[in-house]
């Protein structure tokens, strides 16, 4: 894959150099609905078979890491939202945990519960977007409408909590912004009860469908070794049969108190690590999220939602690397502080960035239509890749 730029064979015709190649170069994106954002994939095809795929990213680049050097620690949170705009709660939580660990801040119990609640609701919302849009990629439009309708309920709740539908700025350093009231908790409970049944139906409608299975099983297979080699995490890694979930293996927040299973791809309909397995992992993760939410609703206690944080946050000098499990994979914050009011350096390890780097090994040998299925199944968000 290393010789992308060298023309294959050079032939001299007279004194003119032409490139001997019967490969067709196709540009997929940046404005292609199946790339889920502004990803451009340069595809070389031999008739219908993809020979090589080179991802070109950076269309949404805004140099978040440079901005952060001029912002106070609270002002970073709105920027963090804008990375993975479909999983903003998890992004904020990861950042807040990083700073809290450096400051040694005690987070109140109620805030911890609310954080887990919103993070798991966010996971459901994010996977619903994946599920809906993946349906569209595969030619099934119906689920898209159903999923977005259910997601809207979650977003409405988030809007009431934080004031915004997608970019919340809700999880703050030391706690959360607003308290959740009993009426809202009740709504979450009703949502869980209703949604669990619906989700089973959606899975029947799409995942069990023979056409969908034909499109996704045995397609875009990633082995365990490839996943480790490329640093894949999250549902992509679990889809390849690796039992690895930071919520279990390295619990943060209060996850160690909760009872849930890690969903691992088993190759039920095809090979282990194919598109169907990644789909399966995400769908069943939603059921696990519902399980966690139910435990939150049982265990949530009264109390304050904001811990003691000084008005001007000064993080002691040092560095830290903190990983959390986000809907799309592991998100790592590497913070270097020099003791000032602003971070000296904040590097974000994005899971989507590593996943998109796997395209050159996933694509060769696939049909073009299968490439769409593959890109959809690794579920990328360009805001997080380009940062």
């Amino acid at each position: 894959m290393s010789s992308h730029h060298e023309p294959e064979d050079k032939i001299l015709l007279g004194d003119q150099e032409i490139i001997k190649s019967d490969l067709l170069t196709l540009n997929m994106g940046p404005q292609h609905p199946a790339t889920h954002g502004v990803l451009r994939v340069e595809i070389k095809t031999d008739s219908e078979i993809v020979v090589d795929a080179i991802p070109h990213i950076g269309y949404l680049h805004r140099c978040f890491e440079k901005h952060v050097e001029h912002l106070d620690y609270r002002g970073v949170i709105p920027y963090v939202d804008r990375m993975d705009y479909l999983g903003a709660m998890s992004m904020e939580w990861g950042y807040a945990l990083t700073i809290e660990k450096m400051l040694g801040t005690e987070v109140p119990k109620r805030a911890e519960y609310i954080r887990i609640l919103v993070a798991e609701l966010q996971r459901i919302a994010s996977h619903l977007v994946y599920f809906g849009t993946y349906g569209i990629d595969m030619g099934a439009f119906t689920t898209f409408l159903y999923c977005f309708q259910d997601r809207e309920e979650i977003l409405r709740l988030f809007e009431e909590l934080s004031g915004a539908r997608m970019l919340y700025n809700y999880v703050w350093i030391g706690g959360v912004w607003n308290d959740i009231n009993d009426d809202q908790l009740n709504r979450v409970k009703n949502f869980c009860d209703r949604f669990e049944g619906e989700l089973k139906k959606y899975h029947q409608l799409v995942g069990e469908n023979k056409i969908f299975i034909e499109r996704t099983a045995h397609v875009g297979v990633l082995t365990k070794e490839q996943c480790f080699d490329y640093g894949a995490t999250g549902p992509v890694l679990r889809g390849s049969g690796v039992n690895w979930d930071l919520r279990k293996n390295r619990p943060y927040g209060m996850y160690e108190k909760f009872d849930f299973d890690v969903i691992v791809g088993k190759g039920e309909k095809g090979t282990v690590g194919d598109c169907w397995d990644r789909y399966y992992v995400r769908i069943y993760e939603m059921f696990e999220s519902i399980k966690i939410i139910r435990q939150v609703l049982e265990g949530i206690e009264e109390g304050p939602v904001m811990g003691k944080v000084s008005k001007i946050i000064k993080v002691p000098a040092g560095e830290i690397y903190m990983r959390t499990e986000c809907p799309r994979g592991e998100l790592g914050y590497h913070l270097i502080s020099d003791g000032g009011k602003t971070p000296y350096r904040l590097k974000v390890k994005s899971s989507c960035f590593t996943h998109v780097s796997m395209l050159p090994i996933l694509a060769p040998g696939q049909m073009v239509a299968d490439l769409v299925a593959t890109i959809g199944s690794i579920d990328i968000v360009l805001g997080e890749i380009d940062r």
């Binding site: 890491e65 450096m102 002691p316 000098a317 690397y321 390890k349 960035f353 780097s357």
Partner: protein, 208 residues
């Protein structure tokens, strides 16, 4: 864990000079190694079980650039920060030859491919032996390396003016400054300032 690893590294890779950095108060420890031996160190660490390269990141200090390799062991559930120090080289323009050099670790983990490209693009580090070292987030003809501390945004890119005056509201920022001149007594006026305006920040600090 860090001390064990560093003594192991010292015996496995000659000349790597591993030094364990323990944080003064809070945070993670790390191991600093000689930049020239990074490839051997990474190979040794991989054979020690660090099978995933999570992240490669660089930090610009005034006198050096510090590369951090964040490696993880998914079987033993460990992670480690390996550091290497490089000179700063000349980060202006778009010339690979003047940049600090270090061996690429793509041959050890393929994950390093994109991560090193990002490092090159953002911080200006030449990874020797990288199969495809191109800019990744910025366009190929971009000048300078944005995450360096002394980076200055180019004024023009192709035919476009970067940060045109009407978009950055210079007039609104200047309103307070002008008012100070108008009133004559700067102590009487309080005004907002731009957070990257160095003089104003100094003024504000004096006022505190």
């Amino acid at each position: 864990m860090h001390n064990e690893l560093s003594s192991k590294l010292a015996s496995l890779v000659s000349g790597s000079n591993p030094v364990v950095n323990t944080p003064a108060t809070v945070g993670d420890s790390s191991i600093t190694v000689e930049a020239a031996t990074i490839l051997e160190v990474c190979k040794a660490l991989k054979s020690e079980g660090f099978n995933v390269c999570q992240c490669i990141t660089a930090t610009d200090y005034a006198d050096r650039i510090e590369l951090t390799y964040i490696l993880a062991d998914f079987t033993k559930n460990l992670e480690i920060l390996v550091k290497a120090n490089l000179g700063r080289g000349d980060g202006n323009g778009n010339n690979k030859e003047t940049l600090p050099k270090i061996n690429s670790v793509v041959s050890v983990w393929n994950a390093a491919n994109f991560l090193e490209r990002e490092c090159y693009d953002m911080m200006g580090i030449n990874f020797v032996g990288h199969p495809d070292l191109r800019r990744i987030l910025t366009p190929d003809d971009w000048q300078g390396y944005p995450l360096r501390r002394d980076y200055i945004v180019q004024e023009k890119y192709l035919d476009m003016v970067v940060n045109p005056a009407h978009k950055i509201n210079s007039a609104d920022h200047m309103f307070g400054k002008n008012l100070k001149v108008e009133i004559g007594d700067p102590k009487k006026v309080s005004a907002s300032w731009k957070s990257n305006d160095a003089d104003e920040i100094e003024d504000a600090k004096d006022g505190e």
